[in-house]
């Protein structure tokens, strides 16, 4: 069975490909290039196409199924139109599947379930990365504010931190917000 993954995110499509290969689907192809999408798909003639929901080329795919004489017609999108739970799960995860030929329903279900969990894993990865980035930014801001206070008030590093923490508690704010105010104030006094 040939599966094509249409995804502009190379990392996500790689994660998806690995998952499918682990599950025993050996013929998996990834298309990241949106130009000439139709040509690529005609050339590979897949049984299943997986595409991320946010991909604007979804409309192009829909047309292909309606007019194309070259590609076999899809029998269904998603697993089954009555299977709303699967449809919702895949839409929530962000994956959409087009089944191009009459495949066994159970087979498609397993592919889709796998994709949903992989898509979810990817978005968790993305969230973790974003969180790590913002944690790092916050730490940098606090360090900078600490430096300003140490210099201006001749404080030790520990006392500078305590001072900001005290202000944060009094004003019911986060330390990073206090640190930002310190930096802003320092820039104004320059």
């Amino acid at each position: 069975m040939k599966i094509v993954i249409v995804d502009e995110s190379p990392i996500r499509s790689l994660i998806l490909e690995e998952g499918l290969r682990d599950a025993g689907f050996t013929q998996v192809e990834r298309i990241g290039e949106m130009h000439n999408l139709l040509k690529h798909i005609y050339a590979s003639d897949p049984d299943v196409i997986l595409i991320d929901l946010e991909n604007p080329s979804r409309d192009t795919l829909e047309q292909m199924f309606q007019v194309s004489r070259a590609v076999r017609r899809p029998i269904a999108m998603f697993v089954d139109q009555s299977d709303t739970a699967s449809i919702q799960a895949s839409v929530d995860a962000g994956v959409s599947a087009y089944i191009v030929d009459g495949l066994k329903k159970e087979r498609i279900k397993s592919i889709l379930d796998l994709c949903v969990s992989r898509f979810n894993a990817f978005s968790k990865l993305q969230d973790d990365l974003d969180q790590a980035k913002s944690d790092l930014e916050e730490r940098k801001t606090i360090e900078r504010a600490k430096g300003i206070l140490m210099k201006a008030k001749k404080l030790s590093e520990e006392d500078a931190y305590k001072m900001m923490r005290g202000a944060a508690m009094r004003e019911n704010k986060k330390i990073v917000e206090i640190a930002r105010s310190v930096i802003t104030a320092a820039e104004m006094f320059k």
Partner: protein
Amino acid sequence: MTGEAHVKIGFIPLVDAAALLIAAHKGFAKAEGLDIELIREASWANIRDKLAIGRFDAAHLLAPMAVASTLGLGHVRVPLVAPMNLAMNGNAIAVSTALYAELAAEGEVAHPAQTARALAKLVARRRAEGREPLTFGMTFPFSMHNYQLRYWMAEGGVDPDEDLRLIVLPPPYMVENLARGQLDGFCVGAPWSSVAVDAGVGVILHFGCEIFACAPEKVLALRESFADDDHSLVAALIRALDRGAAFVDEPQNLGEVSQILSRPEYVGVDAEIIRRVLTGHLRVKASDERSDANYLIIGRDGAMRPDPRQAEWIYAQMLRWGQTRHSPEMADRAKSVLRPDLFDAAIDCAHIQREIGAFAGPSFGGRSYADYLAGFDIGQRL
């Protein structure tokens, strides 16, 4: 109403979503007790699917797509209703500068009948020379863009299914493909034709309203079950959007509306381009401008009131191009998508009867489908 009703609405970043975007932004929805959450989408397929499974309560949708979804064409059958039109017209047909030069060499290019005949001559010549067929882009098979292109070409004698290629492309990709020579022309909503003209790669050949006089372009679409569940909520939504449209239509608000729509979370293009679209004053090629007050109609002259005859007309276009087969039941289902009863329950406005009309060919009003379709040389018949 106690508390605010939360309504999730999907939209595509296009100027013809103006009534919806302004209703949410200017607080008209809030005044009706609605808390509208707008979700910007990248494809019509996505909007349709999220509406179908209930992730959206309502959507900015292509009018023919609401009919197609209800009839189960090309996809899962999900009955939708459209209690109001969001826009009439607003598309344009643009061609590459190279194709424009070839068409102009054939003679006058002012009227669609002239350009269609010129196109037919070019198609025949290209075939005789063994060249690749021309390729035109549009945004979705069930769209006014598709029907405008096909109607225009066929009037000149070009069979859009045999003589050239019609492909679907996301609107933001059109201009680039025109520049690379992958496309020879396209029909798309604003502002993409203007973008092609500004970039010097395309010429606007015709406004959509020069092909069809007043074609329902986008509707507010709801699941039928949702619409029938809570009539007061639907009425509140209609009133809010009607106020949004009235605000858009007021000439003194033009600057403010253009600014709001240009925001990145809404349409995200230059306010000046949006202004041109809203006034119907467009640059059509490097040294030429053209105006048409009907280029895009948001709310004026009762345009928002849905008319089931518009859905019948859309169904007739679907029959002509073989997108569906005819049956009286299907025709009735199609007609039932546009719901003036829901509109009238919310708003009291004049019932202006308008023929959709076309630049050539038989008129649809009062005829049977068989009669209407028999009036064309190209296309399916009953």
